[in-house]
């Protein structure tokens, strides 16, 4: 894609009038919109790697919006969802939000509300994507550690002092200190707490904290 950084709004509604009207409204704010008439079209056409958000009608001819939201998630499309609906029933709204929908707008909606909602969704998507990029960096750095450095890192995360680590690993304190300074450098950590924060951002070590 020539401009991969420009966010894309994916609008799904079965009514062609609504589709083109809402799309025009968003375009009037210089947002980029792709429209789809049903669930099948978006499942086939959406590109998860482009930043953006989803604007879904709750009721679609071939699948209801909530199912579509779930289906998209299982296919790795993590973009935030703004629901629009002609039948604003509360249970459905609750379900949608509890499944991660960002907003639930009843048709016809105010333009500010929609545009605000969409911008918010795009922001959250951008944050997600930034977070994900950071995470990927940490993972990469973790993978660059040697097995020994890994062991030292895990001991550090458990809160052990150098002496204890040296005894556990049956090496000298000096060796532990060398490993420690190496891994600090590799992980880009400035201090022990900073190291812990970086490591814990990673899924692999998140459990460790809650297990203690």
């Amino acid at each position: 894609m020539p401009a991969p950084k420009l966010p894309q709004i994916h609008l799904v509604d079965d009514d062609p009038d609504v589709r083109s009207a809402v799309s025009l409204l968003l375009k009037s704010e210089n947002l980029r919109v792709t429209t789809y008439g049903d669930a099948k079209a978006i499942l086939e056409g959406v590109d998860a790697s482009t930043p953006g958000c989803l604007v879904l009608d709750v009721r679609l001819p071939d699948m209801d919006g909530l199912t579509l939201q779930r289906e998209l998630k299982t296919r790795g499309v993590q973009m935030p969802v703004v629901f629009i609906t002609g039948h604003g029933d509360i249970p459905m709204a609750v379900r949608a939000v509890s499944e991660g929908a960002l907003d639930f707008l009843e048709k016809p909606f105010h333009d500010e509300v929609l545009i605000e909602g969409v911008r918010h969704a795009l922001e959250i998507d951008a944050q997600h994507r930034a977070g994900a990029a950071e995470l990927a960096q940490v993972e990469e750095r973790l993978h660059s550690l040697t097995p020994r450095e890994r062991q030292v890192l895990e001991c550090l995360l458990d809160g052990k002092p150098n002496k204890l680590i040296a005894r556990d690993l049956e090496v000298s304190v000096r060796t532990v200190e060398i490993h420690r300074s190496n891994l600090m450098q590799k992980m880009g950590a400035k201090s022990a707490p900073h190291l812990a924060r970086i490591a814990l951002a990673c899924m692999e070590y998140r459990d460790r904290l809650s297990a203690k």
Partner: protein
């Protein structure tokens, strides 16, 4: 429901009506006088009685009809006509005072009878037995009774040889006979104009009139021997009966008058089967026969009228029930239809909001496009509203020719939200060459709506949900079938499927199929239900074709 008497005499509007009203009154009065005088003249031709008592005296009947139809303002004309007749023909026999008495008695009798008929709710359409009864009783008591009493009294006074009782009886009979013959004709022709234009009845009417004139002429021409002519004189009965049952009431009353006129004229001239048996007897026999004839005609007309009224009432009830059903259906569809309307509203709002933004940014081209779209979407929304209104409208269920596709499409359109929601496709197949149906569209749409909604209910939730709507032709009927691939109708329900309140739906009244069958049958068709061998239910009904409707 009693039919209100026709108010023929309307109040003239103050500005322009005054002169017109006077002219009308004058015209009617002149007509009354002329007719009164003419029938009196005719009656006086046949005075087989040595004292000049006529066989038949229709003049009072003429007066009664006019005064009933046009009000008491016509009473003076009755007086003038009666005076004219009295002065010219019986004046020589009768002293002046008695002459004046006769005239006044005639006027009073006619006025009392006409007012009584009005107050008792008589209808000149003769649609109820009550109308025939009222005319005979009121006419016999007030009009004929009074006129005959005064007439007989006058004659008794004038001539020593006449016994009052005998004369009264003869006068009364002549009077009543005349009234029975002429009044219904005048009332129905002047007072109930162009009633029930029964289709294709003109040919029948002409045929009956021709037959009756022929038979009566032959019987009363004196060409036939009495033993043959006497039984043949009864041939008018079946003709009158046929007319009463099949033709407009005007034809029946005209036939009765024609039969009476020919019979009385013939007998008066000494011809026909009644002429040979002595004057008193002949008068009695002929009048008895004619009286029975008129009675037969009026009674049959009334019974037919009552039957038709009952049928009309039943039809009206069905129409009302059907409309209630449509409203209830619309209520059940309202959620879907509200959504159907909410979509264009949402589109309109979004277009308008976009327009404001585009205007602010000076993006003319896109703005123009948005405005064009706004108009188109608004029209589309209005169309949805129109369909809903058409379906619920209190349309007179008048039949007209309509193409099968035009009958089916509005129903499919109205059901579209429902179909979309349940993700059901309706496969409609209507061959191109089919003739048009002769139906009340709104009612047949209702039948289609009921059947399609049942089908939707039967298949909803199925993955392969499928509904077929097929229009076809079977001899001279259109056959419409609705098939689904649902579970079919349980065998134990097939028998009572069309009974009212055989509810199986929640929220429904259980009247849908019952009303549908009644509506189809009101169109002369049949609605049947069954299960398909491959599973699923099939409902099919027949409708008359456009060119076949004349049969029914």
């Amino acid at each position: 429901m009693p039919t209100a008497p026709i108010q023929v005499s309307r109040l003239p509007s103050p500005a322009q009506g005054h002169l017109a009203a006077w002219l009308r009154l004058l015209g009617r009065s002149a007509m009354l006088v002329a007719l009164y005088y003419a029938v009196a003249l005719w009656g006086l031709v046949f005075t087989p009685d040595p004292h000049g008592i006529p066989l038949v005296w229709p003049a009072t009947g003429v007066g009664l009809a006019f005064v009933y139809l046009y009000g008491l303002r016509l009473v003076p004309a009755v007086g003038i006509a009666a005076a004219l007749v009295t002065w010219q023909h019986t004046g020589a026999m009768m002293p002046l005072l008695e002459g004046i008495g006769t005239v006044i008695a005639t006027m009073v009798g006619v006025a009392v009878a006409a007012q009584s008929l009005r107050h008792l709710g008589f209808s000149p359409r003769f649609e109820r037995l009550r109308d025939a009864g009222l005319l005979l009783v009121i006419g016999g008591l007030a009009a004929s009774g009074l006129a005959a009493t005064v007439g007989a009294w006058g004659m008794a006074v004038a001539s020593e040889t006449i016994a009052f009782a005998d004369t009264w009886w003869l006068c009364w009979m002549a009077d009543l006979m005349g009234l029975m013959l002429i009044t219904p004709v005048l009332l129905t022709w002047l007072g109930a104009p162009v009633l029930r234009p029964v289709e294709r009845s003109h040919g029948k009417s002409a045929l009956l009139i021709g037959a009756l004139l022929a038979v009566s002429t032959v019987v009363y021409s004196g060409q036939l021997a009495a033993p043959l002519a006497m039984p043949l004189s009864y041939a008018v009965f079946p003709l009158i009966m046929l007319a009463a049952l099949r033709c407009p009431v005007q034809v029946t009353t005209f036939l009765m008058l024609a039969a009476g006129t020919i019979a009385l004229s013939g007998t008066g001239w000494g011809l026909g089967p009644f002429a040979d048996i002595g004057i008193a007897n002949s008068l009695l026999s002929l009048n008895a026969q004619l009286g029975l004839l008129v009675l037969t005609g009026l009674v049959l007309t009334a019974m037919r009228g009552e039957r038709e009224t009952a049928e009309a009432r039943a039809r009206r009830h069905l129409d009302e029930l059907a409309r209630a059903g449509r409203l209830s259906t619309l209520g059940e569809l309202s959620a879907g239809l509200a959504h159907e309307l909410n979509q264009p509203l949402c589109a309109l709002a979004s277009y308008a909001q976009a327009s404001t933004r585009l205007l602010k940014r000076g993006r003319q081209e896109e703005l123009r496009e948005a405005l064009t779209q706004i108009e188109a979407v608004a029209h589309r929304a209005a169309e949805t509203v129109r369909q809903m209104r058409a379906f619920a409208a209190r349309q007179p269920p008048e039949r007209r020719a309509i193409a099968p596709a035009a009958l089916v499409q509005p129903v499919i359109d109205l059901l579209q939200p429902e179909l979309r929601r349940h993700r059901i496709e309706v496969e409609v197949s209507i061959p191109k060459h089919l003739p048009r149906a002769w139906v009340a569209p709104v009612q047949i749409e209702q039948v289609l709506m009921n059947l399609l909604r049942n089908a939707i209910e039967a298949v909803e939730g199925r993955r392969d949900a499928h509904i077929q709507l097929q229009v076809d032709r079977n001899r001279r009927d259109l056959v419409i079938s609705v098939r689904d691939n649902g579970p079919g109708i349980p065998p134990y329900r097939l028998a009572s499927l069309f009974d009212p309140f055989a509810t199986r739906k929640e929220g429904g009244m259980g009247l849908g199929l019952s009303i549908s069958r009644s509506l189809v049958e009101a169109h002369g068709g049949h609605l049947t239900a069954g299960n398909l061998p491959e599973g699923g239910a099939e409902f099919r009904f027949t409708l008359p074709e456009e060119n076949a409707h004349a049969r029914t």
